[in-house]
Symmetry: C2
Subunit: 405 residues, 2 copies
Amino acid sequence: MFKINENYLKLPGSYLFSTVGRKEREYKAAHPDKKVIKLSIGDVTQPLVPSIVEALHGAVDEMGKAETFRGYAPDLGYEFLRSAIASGDYKARGVDIDIDEIFVSDGAKCDSGNIQEILGLDNKIAVGDPVYPVYVDSNVMAGRTGTYDAATGMWSNVVYMPCLEENGFAPTLPKETPDIIYLCFPNNPTGATVTKDELQKWVDYANEKKALIIYDAAYEAYISESNVPHTVYECDGAKTCAIELRSFSKNAGFTGVRLGFTVIPKELKCGDVSLNALWARRHGTKYNGAPYIVQRAGEAVYSETGRQELKKQVAYYMNNAKVIKEGLAEAGFSVSGGVNAPYIWLKTVNGMSSWEFFDYVLEKANVVGTPGSGFGPSGEGYFRLTAFGTYENTVEAIERMKKLI
Amino acid sequence: MFKINENYLKLPGSYLFSTVGRKEREYKAAHPDKKVIKLSIGDVTQPLVPSIVEALHGAVDEMGKAETFRGYAPDLGYEFLRSAIASGDYKARGVDIDIDEIFVSDGAKCDSGNIQEILGLDNKIAVGDPVYPVYVDSNVMAGRTGTYDAATGMWSNVVYMPCLEENGFAPTLPKETPDIIYLCFPNNPTGATVTKDELQKWVDYANEKKALIIYDAAYEAYISESNVPHTVYECDGAKTCAIELRSFSKNAGFTGVRLGFTVIPKELKCGDVSLNALWARRHGTKYNGAPYIVQRAGEAVYSETGRQELKKQVAYYMNNAKVIKEGLAEAGFSVSGGVNAPYIWLKTVNGMSSWEFFDYVLEKANVVGTPGSGFGPSGEGYFRLTAFGTYENTVEAIERMKKLI
């Protein structure tokens, strides 16, 4: 008789963004006359830039001709893309990453969910609180997190690193030593980040404790301040303790195109076992590569024209972030984030819980945000807004929200 | 201190096709003057058909305009594609599959590797022997397979169902009762298949034993005989015991485009837990959808023009299968498969092992095949050739191979 993975039954409720999406659909269905503005899920709204569209068309044409048709991609991804990444994302910042340390994938969500598979079930994870739900949920599914306490919203076998007003909404070194540390800078959901000196402390800590850092840098393109690191490998010693996850979703608008990559340096070992080799085995066995046409689109991101076009796109969203942050601050809301990240972290008003505020904002302003508590217990009383809407919608949403206070 | 997943260290050697690829590259590097013909990995060679190219271009244009740009896809895949699947692959064969029972993915390899995640670690799997390596390897990684015996090439906690000459190279009901049964019809690697009556016996057996069938139908487009089922759901009772995996790689040449889907009927339960709900949770948490442009390409597969064009493409490959099978049989080789599948299963000559024959054929005929033993111990002494090459290369490869006997 077959048995299911009982760990799945421990998960409380559905995936956060599925619930937010359902509530939005239900509200719209009940109020077809209302113009609902979505500033919830971090989904981009600007079209692909011309150089990427051109690269896609070119690759589609190649796939339509026998001489240039491509079947299965190389396990780690096409060399043209991995070379562009090594050069554009690392060498340009003074970091040497070999192309065999780069694993192209269909996005950072999948990678951040799958990466735990190459690690033992007896590891204790540490996460920022609040945090991107995939880190915790994928570990729940694997069975690492112990039992869930509905009263506190916490798992018994997870080290929580609260991101609160007093620490600038960024995690600080935990008291209890974890085995695996998930870090996301610039942070989702709080929009906070760390300086290079601060990140160096995490790297030193991990090396000292022989802990593994899983570093999610999906939002690095939004960094505007000069002392903020774009990659964990800017820190000394990071290659012996850190895996880096990167995405094309936010810097190039690929949420519906699907492309990302993971960096695992060859120096990163557990005893004499190379994590690079383990992930290569996982990649070769359970994954079959990102589409050729999408990998060509990824290459275009690093072209001179692509860079210029995308710089403007990022600036467009960061202008939205400014509109949200300044608009809400002016109205009297307590807001943070939005300087090095496309997320604004907002305190609810009148002591409302995150979900109460979600319903309140949806009902009164017809704006969809994401309840902070959905990201973890310390997110309670907060609300996340994204800068990924259109400028016009963002301005309108903030005008409406200003009236709520 | 972080720990790795020790199960990975149990895996003998690297992923089969990575090894085949490496040997091929090494031979080519050492013999740059030789024209090596690859009939090994099941990778297609014909370009995408015009209607699919057109759909891709159209979708790329949509992604380049604000009004039609698409971000994150719905969790299960776009409804336009799931409707086309439900109608084209199921309703057309008298099977009712709801669109909420269809989960669009980036391919059957990923799905066949990931599907075991929703199942407990205390399940015992049964596999055909030989078999597509992902079924076993993904269970090794999860820790279900016990210990590996290098002498026999077998795992202590796996039920092997030998596919030998005496049973027409297709598995028969096992003596020991398993919890999970992987079936692949038409079969990879042997090219064998079963009639609907024979498959009904598997379904009845699974329902009786409360076992779960994971049914890989990646090659159904190659079925030429009328009494062979195209989907497991043609059998009575399959909805309470079977998950079906499907691919666009072989019927539409999508090996480098990446698209597939998994069907989990809502009736399929373990106690009162719906497997459809578990997989939906996994999909929502650890996956982010196939690219919009690729889903539009998938839709074109079901269009009238797409169907006509792809029928010709499948016929092209099946003509290659005929060339291989008849050519080698004529020369005195012992061959099977190739009638309802794009694979030909060939007995080695002179008592050679599969890998000896691999080296022999590569050396003497400059043809790359896949060693049967790479698919499992009962594959020893056999060799797989695929019909996915070009016609010209296939003819030339067979002419060369004829001289080996």
